[in-house]
Symmetry: C2
Subunit: 188 residues, 2 copies
DNA sequence: GTAAACGGAATGAATATTCATTCCTATCTT
DNA sequence: AAGATAGGAATGAATATTCATTCCGTTTAC
């Protein structure tokens, strides 16, 4: 058997942290879910916080990689927005929990500087896109952080709602939501 | 002295729960912040969970009261949206933490049925407004829960960002965000 | 003076972490 | 080739710590 226990532990932690939050998740819970002994977790991670930070960074890197790869540098602002939106959905589909996990655990109390930085670097990419769009007079001139709050906040809550199964994820729905978010941030 | 210890405890809990979350907040922490003995908390609340639920319900009632009071039943859909949006801001200004607290603790693992129900009842009011707007052909025909995810999610994230002090709350900003959210959910 | 309210140390349950031991697997020996 | 041996990985019971809750002596209000 060639199972990777480190991966098993990270996956179990991702599911539990997303569902219950870091503080309500116990190490034995993670061990049970990953089907390893509690002590095994400490062979791979110094402590529970290090586990959280490792997981967070892996998720953030994967997420922003998905968004930045193949970004249409020379496309229209609308095309660029579509890329970001579509790739975010793509990521969320393949990594059901990761997107919610990133947002719900983005907290200076829990994360170390390296984790916080890795998220900020990714966000800089989005901010840069928004500023470019503003310079072309296509995107509303609110502060970039406000625009991010609007469409990123909307997406986070949308996937939360889908995960809670009070809303069904269909292609039509997601296309509709993209249109809504674009209308929210573009100049009219 | 005629200070109300129950209020002191609820206020301390609100601040700590909002900042750290329910699970990372200890009862002695709440006692210290409220400047009461740990035992005193148990004179007013059976246990920590009852305290959470009492707080949650008080916040939810106050929030939806703010929104429903003076709602322009016979106004235009745009005016009604303005009312909801403006009153939400009004509430958030007077109760800095309550809005974030409600959203971050809306969780079946923590709340009892009564608390969950009180939130759902409030949300029904918003859903009813959206359906009315859809029937008049003014609001986008996405599922109401999707529309709520969009503009409620945006607002939650916006106030979270303001609370984190990476965005300054000004009247212009809030007016701009209202316009964005309206553009997000209206038919074009 | 007395009954209720209060405070905070004491208690016991739950939790993160450690560590002595077992289990595998790969290498070495004959 | 078969058995012996070493070394790293894994385990889960034991330990140390943290936390919700209780209890009781003290203070306050009337």
């Amino acid at each position: 058997m060639t199972t990777n226990k480190r991966e098993d532990i990270l996956l179990a932690a991702l599911n539990l942290f997303t569902e219950r939050g870091f503080d309500a998740t116990t190490v034995p819970m993670i061990a049970d879910t990953a089907k390893v002994g509690a002590g095994t977790i400490y062979r791979y991670f110094d402590n529970k916080e290090v586990l959280l930070n490792s997981l967070f960074q892996e998720c953030v890197v994967q997420f922003f990689q998905t968004i930045t790869q193949g970004f249409p540098e020379s496309g229209t602002v609308r095309q660029q927005f579509h890329h970001i939106f579509f790739q975010t959905i793509h990521f969320a589909k393949g990594n059901r929990e990761a997107f919610s996990f990133i947002d719900s655990h983005l907290n200076p109390r829990l994360l170390d500087d390296r984790s916080l930085k890795s998220f900020e670097v990714g966000m800089d990419f989005i901010r840069h896109f928004l500023v470019q769009g503003q310079q072309q007079g296509i995107i509303s001139s609110l502060p970039p952080n406000a625009l991010i709050s609007i469409f990123y906040g909307a997406l986070v809550k949308l996937f939360e709602t889908i995960r809670a199964e009070v809303l069904e994820e269909t292609d039509e729905l997601l296309a509709g939501v993209e249109e809504c978010c674009w209308n929210a941030i573009r100049v009219h």
